[in-house]
Subunit: 305 residues, 2 copies
């Protein structure tokens, strides 16, 4: 989007550490804003963005105009991820993920990166984009980087500049809740109803903040779970004044990573044992093994990076 | 799709004449069929298709499974061209062009061709795909090849095998109408109402054939025109028994080509006079000229090939 902050800088640095060329897109995308949202007042700080991107290691800035990306206006092509696009932020912001999937598919097709870096803060967006790139056969690896927080815990967001001092203090209920749910899960609490109720109680203490959603979902499908498990996404969205903020965590990350490492190892081992063929279509067994290995790899959680 | 015939062979030969590698996709795409359409009975002739493709010059066949292209089932990503997708065949077949745009975007992203060859017979499809590739910034040139007809005039179609002998004879009203409208237009008749009425009268003589649409539209936007002009598409769709057939022509093709050649020449000449820069972003005049040249090129009609 734009209005780059330290969170974006961490994505650029991550990209720089594993890629020769790092292209940063700066584009406030009109199609991902609803009619009553903040498209016109969204912060635009192009010169500062360029300076931040360069100092973090960007080798190019891609800053198209609206006409460049939408040459045909409303008679345009849109990319929509069915199902996923209507969950979490997609439920609160109809059309939002349609705009996101559309613009990101254009950026990926135009720039042809080997890897694309996104922040875990937009967890639902990551789920939508992973599905989109898989479905459209885009040859890109989606890399997800951890949430970057201010010292008081608030997750960095371009929209934080909208907050008054009082609102900023109220907004801390989001990160406090995320932290508390992590603790409860680490202590063994797995029931979604109990975890969500605990979150609701923390929000009840700050009545100025209006909950948009508090959910425990599978991080890949964004469908609600009844029992939290490794890989479950706890996500929250709330209005602080007129500003909508989000935060999240993936429960049991370490356990997930260990579990996945084992699944992957087993799949690869089995594949080796049963004879992997370069022409798997001629070998039913090899196809099955390859599918299992690829399923295991796809299960790697968002914060693996 | 599949069930390749001489029309497809002409696309393959055209590709072979200008490309080193020619990949032919064979995939009966479920998402472009409506619930009451002929997906299950659509002819599947894989071995014959491969033989035909090879003899026409194909260097590779891409024949994915449904699971390869739709790994996530209905929770999938779809590509939709707003507006255009609801016109002509899109009006009669809701969702059809959404399926077409989705599968073609996947095929183009997977195969990364420099050029993709389509038949003018599916004129609305070509308009949708041109818009889709422009909007998604896909680096591919869409090349459109002329309609191939049997000696009796019937446009080749995989669905022609559905026709009984009697239906086949009735179906000739489509090509007869297309030919008649070409003649009337060549004689100077430009009024859409008159041309469409003439077409209706030809169909009235064959009551077994049920008209789906008879339209005069701009070939790029598919919007109706009142006065036919060079580049106007005359398109017809009709049911012969249970089989839906289509046919079309672009009016004034020779005049269009001549006009466009001049527009293009002028634009290029103007660009040369005003000083074309390799870095047009530093030169307002050069940008304008380049835009005009590119607009002129985009106006080249479908049957230029």
């Amino acid at each position: 989007m734009g209005a780059l902050h330290t969170g974006h800088a961490s994505l650029i640095r991550a990209a720089k550490s594993s890629c020769d060329q790092v292209v940063v897109s700066i584009f406030v995308n009109p199609t991902q804003f609803g009619p009553n949202e903040d498209y016109s007042r969204y912060p635009r700080t192009f010169d500062a963005d360029c300076a931040l991107a360069e100092s973090a290691g960007a080798t190019a800035i891609f800053a198209p105009s609206v006409e460049d990306l939408y040459p045909n206006g409303p008679d345009s092509t849109f990319v929509e991820v069915e199902g996923l696009s209507t969950r979490l932020d997609g439920a609160s912001r109809p059309g939002h993920f349609r705009g996101v999937a559309t613009v990101v598919s254009k950026l990926l097709i135009a720039a042809e990166p080997d890897r694309a870096f996104f922040g875990q803060k937009d967890a639902a967006q990551v789920a939508v984009l992973r599905r989109m790139t898989t479905d459209l056969l885009l040859p890109v690896e989606i890399v997800v980087c951890p949430i970057v927080r201010d010292p008081d815990g608030l997750a960095l967001s371009s929209r934080n500049i909208y907050l008054s001092a009082a609102e900023r203090s109220q907004a801390l209920v989001l990160s406090r809740t995320v932290h508390q749910i992590e603790s409860l899960a680490a202590q063994g609490e797995r029931r979604a109803t109990v975890l969500v109720e605990a979150a609701n109680q923390l929000f009840a203490a700050v009545p100025e903040v209006r909950i948009d959603y508090i959910e425990l979902v599978d991080w890949a499908t964004l469908l609600p779970v009844e029992v939290a498990a490794p890989g479950t996404l706890f996500a929250v969205a709330a209005y602080v004044g007129k500003t909508r903020l989000i935060d999240n965590t993936i429960l049991g990350s370490d356990a997930v990573l260990e579990h996945l490492r084992r699944v992957e190892e087993n799949a690869l081992e089995e594949r080796d044992q049963e004879g992997y063929s370069l022409h798997p279509q001629t070998n039913e067994e090899a196809r099955r093994c390859e599918k299992e290995a690829s399923t295991a790899l796809r299960r790697v959680p968002m914060n693996r990076f």
